[in-house]
């Protein structure tokens, strides 16, 4: 009797577990499928290459938002990548196991837990008002740097730590300084991992809305300088859906966003897989 009931519970539990997996998969399919089916028909060459009309009309395409997004990502990366890599190098190669290091790590982890809107208000207070950059690409980019720094640092640190210790020992044994060892041996070996980190950050930057909403303004024109406002693709989705009620255009823009995200995910996975293989092959 007991044996039978154990088997029955086993069956029920397995059904529940599979059910959980299937529901998760279905959720994803429904979301992506719905956006693509509703949005893709409206995506054509004209949509991609005209500027949105702005204001309260939902007319026009998405050209200026694409340009703003690229602009924003460019400025963000210029600041983010050096600081992020430097920070990761310090943590993985130099940091002694002491109180100061723990404080730095605590800072990074707390920063990772603060939500985007709080960064936005911080950016609004510091960059927009105190430093008076106004609502601009620069304010948005600086806020994004603060937001993305933890991701960049932790992912790069993982990549640096994956480089075998024998490399470092061999380099030092040949009489290099520590910096020569890092810049000529460790960093080049970790490059695919660092590229993965950068792409991960780009993905997050593309999807970010809340912190940019309060720092970048919503100008629909192509920004001509760093101190001019703009709107990114995801901000554009928000404006279309909430302020102009142009749901069809919002869906089309969302479809473009989803395709970009799928491509970025695929690229990250491919790179990470290659990196792992390379590290294993070398070990």
């Amino acid at each position: 009797m007991r044996n039978v009931s154990a088997k029955q519970t086993q069956k029920m539990a397995m059904a529940g577990i599979w059910g959980g997996g299937i529901i998760t998969l279905l959720l994803l399919i429904v979301i992506i499928g719905y956006v693509l089916i509703q949005g893709l028909p409206a995506v054509n060459w004209e949509f991609l290459t005209t500027n949105p009309k702005g204001g309260l009309s939902g007319e026009g395409g998405i050209l200026s938002t694409v340009v703003s997004t690229l602009y924003l990502i460019g400025v963000t990366l210029v600041l983010l990548v050096p600081i992020g890599i430097g920070s990761a190098i310090y943590l993985s190669e130099y940091a002694p196991n002491n109180r100061l290091t723990r404080i730095i790590r605590y800072g990074i982890e707390t920063l990772a837990g603060i939500p985007s809107i709080i960064f936005g208000l911080f950016g609004y207070a510091l960059f927009v008002t105190v430093l008076s950059f106004n609502f601009s690409i620069l304010s948005g980019a600086l806020t994004l740097v603060c937001l993305l720094l933890p991701t960049m640092i932790t992912t790069t640190e993982e990549a640096l730590k994956a480089v075998s210790y024998s490399y470092r020992e061999a380099a030092l044994a040949l009489g290099t300084t520590r910096w020569q060892m890092i810049s000529r041996i460790v960093l080049p070996s970790a490059i695919p991992g660092i590229v993965t980190a950068v792409i991960l950050c780009i993905g997050r930057a593309i999807g970010e809305t809340a912190c940019l909403y309060v720092t970048m303004g919503g100008s629909a024109a192509i920004p001509s300088s760093l101190l001019e406002g703009g709107r990114t693709l995801s901000l554009h989705v928000y404006y279309l859906a909430m302020e102009t009620n142009a749901m069809d255009k919002a869906m089309a823009t969302a479809a473009v966003l989803i395709i970009i995200i799928i491509l970025i995910n695929a690229l990250t996975n491919w790179l990470a897989g290659r990196f792992q293989k390379r590290m294993k092959g070398l070990l």
């Binding site: 539990a13 577990i17 956006v35 709080i118 809340a210 995801s234 970025i264 996975n269």
Partner: protein, 278 residues
């Protein structure tokens, strides 16, 4: 000699960049206290947190409605997300053959990558009309909770899966050798051993739930009526006031209060952090 100089220089530069994150954290804290503390003394912590009415026009500043809204949405979404997430994590770590895992894993990763506006948009177009069939306008705690559930799911799944994987296989072999079924092994041995990791996943998921702004503002409605409001929506609306006016905020005191919400939020984040840090 120059390479030794470069070595020293690099060390300092790298140290400074290592410290940047901490400086940013300090700056955020500084701005919160500079802007938020004066308002605290003006109205009083109690009235602020337990005041039910937010109406700056008549000098009423209570964030209780937002707190209730935040807690309600978080609890309802966690009730849905936790069982689903743990089931999915067990499937990925223990049950599924590698072929299915190679489909499900990227799917979960993709769920993380989808921007929150897209979740909000789908919620707005697909879910809101659906929920309004049941009753009300459709902009509700329930709608927001469902959207949030999908958003926190990947966090719970991936962290739970990692911690289930970290359970040594000798535990499983021991249980199976004693004649336990697979489910008995999972329930009696694996899950208890992975308990702390799963807990961390749930706490992190809750962090994401409390912090989410854009998707929420799109599906929860923009009213300040009692339970329909959350922290982030408040902070968000404060910005809306600011755009309509050349001054920073419509009302200087409201601006201070906005910062006070942040102070409170920041405190919660730091507390929550210290809970699951080793």
């Amino acid at each position: 000699m120059t390479r030794y100089f470069t070595d020293k220089l690099a060390k300092y530069i790298v140290f400074i960049s290592g410290f940047t994150s901490f400086i940013i954290l300090l700056l955020i804290a500084l701005f919160i206290f500079r802007e938020g503390l004066p308002a605290f003394s003006e109205i009083g912590v109690f009235d602020f947190i337990f005041g039910g009415v937010w109406r700056p026009g008549i000098d009423q500043y209570g964030i209780l409605a937002m707190i209730v809204g935040s807690i309600a949405v978080t609890i309802v979404s966690m009730i849905m997300a936790v069982p689903l997430g743990i089931a999915c994590a067990i499937l990925l770590a223990e049950v599924a053959p590698s072929k299915i895992r190679s489909i499900l894993r990227p799917a979960v990763e993709l769920l993380v990558g989808i921007p929150s506006v897209v979740y909000g948009l789908v919620g707005l177009v697909l879910l809101v009309p659906l929920i309004s069939n049941i009753g009300g306008s459709g902009f509700s705690i329930l709608t927001a909770s469902i959207v949030l559930m999908v958003m926190v799911l990947p966090t719970i799944i991936s962290i739970s899966e990692d911690s289930i994987r970290a359970v040594p296989s000798s535990y499983r072999e021991g249980a199976l050798a004693l004649g336990a079924t697979k489910w008995q092994t999972i329930k009696g041995v694996v899950l208890p051993a992975a308990k702390s990791g799963i807990g961390a996943g749930i706490v992190l998921g809750m962090g994401r739930a409390i912090g989410e702004t854009m998707a929420m503002i799109m599906v929860i409605g923009n009213s300040i009526a009692f339970p329909r409001f959350t922290f982030r929506c408040r902070a968000y609306t404060d910005r809306q006031h600011s755009t309509g006016n050349k001054l920073c905020y419509r009302h200087p005191r409201e601006r201070a209060l906005c910062y006070r919400c942040r102070a409170l939020y920041f405190y919660i984040t730091v507390k929550q952090r210290s809970y699951y840090l080793p």
